[in-house]
């Protein structure tokens, strides 16, 4: 956990991590309503950097960067099927898939550390600043050779943490 209060520095232009009021304005972020309808990509790419990998990762053409290559990725939330094919390939590890259910949320995230968790394992849930905000169950671990050592882990989290949790910590020892 962060012993140093980073909260006061939040903001895309200072820390690279958005404040809540900035977050929903970005074209890669689907609506809450859409997340309720089923899994959907959440593209947390907030700065104009030269990269268009996500555009080619999406099998249904739901993410567009276009030209110039520094455009922010735009998500077509109705086209997106939440297939998770984009998560592992993003060099910025900035794409998540979120699904909101009645009282829980499912968050799929990229994972490049060891050990890789197994399905059913309880892991610590970390927010954007690394604070432990709860414990969740791993319900799916996906891997594909093309992903080159990046795993896609899905955790079940309490619904109110759906927009907070962006990393997991596997308990060791």
């Amino acid at each position: 956990m962060n012993s140093y209060d980073l909260n006061k520095y939040l903001g895309v232009n200072i820390l690279g991590v958005p404040r809540e009021d900035e977050y929903w304005k970005y074209p890669g972020i689907p609506s809450v309503e859409r997340m309720r309808r089923g899994p959907v990509a959440v593209v947390e790419c907030f700065q104009e950097i030269p990269c268009d990998v996500c555009e080619y990762l999406c099998p249904v053409g739901a993410i567009k960067v276009g030209h110039p290559i520094t455009n922010l990725p735009v998500l077509d939330q109705n086209r997106c099927k939440g297939c998770k094919q984009c998560i592992a390939g993003c060099p910025g590890l900035a794409i998540f898939v979120v699904e909101l259910r009645e009282d829980v949320a499912k968050i799929s995230l990229p994972y490049e550390l060891l050990p890789v968790p197994s399905v059913g394992e309880m892991v610590e849930l970390l927010d954007r600043l690394g604070n432990i905000v709860g414990v969740g169950k791993v319900i799916e671990v996906l891997y594909n050779e093309r992903w080159d050592d990046t795993y896609v882990v899905t955790v079940m989290v309490p619904k109110e943490l759906a927009f907070k949790v962006r990393a997991i910590k596997v308990k060791t020892g």
């Binding site: 012993s3 980073l6 895309v12 232009n13 820390l15 700065q47 990269c51 990998v53 290559i69 060099p91």
Partner: protein, 384 residues
């Protein structure tokens, strides 16, 4: 003394140099050689275990060391001669049509490589900052740390403090975590993160604090680093007493920017310009990537510290220009190819992060026009 004769000699085997050699060979230049002082070819690519940004033309989405393997393989398949562990000592007669590059390696001793065109792609070196205790073992540059961790698989400490929050600092912090180290913090003198938000987000969510408006006061320990003291700085970059914090760490990783390796562009007498956005002194070059000394081209970080994607494209342009010069490519085709790449570079350099570098490159290109050399006769005209 041994002698080698080639059409294009590329000095440096990083993304710019390898891409230049590949492009030249693809265009039909017969004898292309790449020389590198390191025993492992690929420049910094083999230290990079993260997936690269950019577009398909820049192998985006692929881990750096795999791009290195791919490029070396491709160069070999195209018949490019690759000479590792060989330093360039000097260049004789840089103003003659045939350049004489003096090289040395332990097996062959000192020898001459004669080349019609030379592409200098010597990259950049890391900057250092000095503080009490900076000579203690455990204080090292990000490049050294990446070499130990990612190439030799040695983690030189269990915990680390990274100085500098540019992309290199942020990426190396993430790699330290991947290697199993505890990153105690990133120290950044500016009041904001220097690198891309996506890189910062990766490590912030794993609990790494970023100390903005802070600098390192000293590193202390007996035989090696045991802890560092950091303190806050004010708007005038003056440290504020009483704000000191101690962080226990075995490693202090310096990621405080890079400067172009201009020894060779100096040796040939090329004109340079100081542009801080590009890392300091850089050789002037035109849209062909040619320096103010005819027949010598530059590509990659030596021509201004930027991204690997930019380096690859500059390498391509240098190769196309050389091929055109050597008469293996007609001017119309060459112009079209170069224009396409320049358009792509303009895209890569758009956006807020690249704005200062884009402007600096424009200044550099304008300045070149004042000093550009009168064209050499095309090689095809000399040897019909």
């Amino acid at each position: 003394m041994n002698e080698h004769v080639v059409d294009i000699l590329v000095i440096g085997s990083g993304p710019a140099g390898l891409m230049a050699a590949i492009e030249a060979a693809k265009l039909g230049v017969k004898a292309v050689a790449v020389i590198d002082e390191k025993f492992l070819l690929g420049g910094q690519l083999f230290k990079q275990i993260h997936k690269f940004f950019g577009s398909k033309e820049h192998y985006a989405g692929i881990r750096g060391f795999k791009i290195g393997k791919t490029l070396i393989e491709e160069a070999k398949n195209l018949g490019v001669s690759l000479l590792s562990g060989t330093s360039v000592v000097w260049v004789f007669e840089p103003y003659e049509e045939i350049k004489k590059v003096i090289a040395h390696n332990p097996e062959q001793g000192t020898f001459v490589i004669k080349s019609k065109r030379v592409i200098i792609a010597t990259g950049a070196r890391e900057n250092v900052i000095h503080f009490p205790g900076w000579t203690l073992p455990g204080v090292m540059g990000a490049g050294a740390l990446q070499t130990l961790m990612n190439v030799h698989r040695v983690l030189p400490g269990d915990d680390a403090v990274v100085v500098g929050s540019g992309n290199v600092g942020l990426i190396v912090a993430y790699q330290l975590i991947q290697a199993g180290a505890k990153v105690r913090g990133i120290v950044e003198a500016l009041p904001k993160v220097g690198g891309w938000g996506v890189h910062a987000a990766k490590i912030l969510r794993l609990g790494v604090p970023i100390y903005l408006s802070h600098t390192i006061k000293e590193a202390s320990g007996g035989e090696w680093v045991e802890s560092v003291t950091i303190w806050e700085i004010d708007k005038n970059w003056k440290p504020i007493s009483g704000t000191e914090k101690n962080l226990d760490t075995e490693l202090v990783c310096l990621a405080v920017g890079m400067s172009p390796n201009t020894e060779l562009t100096r040796a040939i007498g090329a004109r340079h310009i100081y542009l801080s956005a590009l890392g300091g002194w850089v050789p002037l070059h035109g849209k062909n990537m040619e320096t103010t000394v005819e027949g010598f081209y530059v590509a990659g970080d030596v021509a201004g510290v930027e991204e690997a994607s930019v380096a690859m494209d500059e390498g391509r342009i240098a190769a196309i220009s050389c091929a055109e010069d050597l008469g293996v490519l007609d001017s119309e085709n060459a112009e079209n190819m170069k224009e396409k790449i320049w358009n792509r570079l303009a895209e890569l350099r758009s956006g807020p992060f690249s704005e200062p570098r884009k402007r600096a490159k424009e200044v550099l290109l304008r300045e070149f026009e004042k000093y550009k050399p009168s064209r050499l006769k095309k090689y095809s005209e000399v040897n019909p």
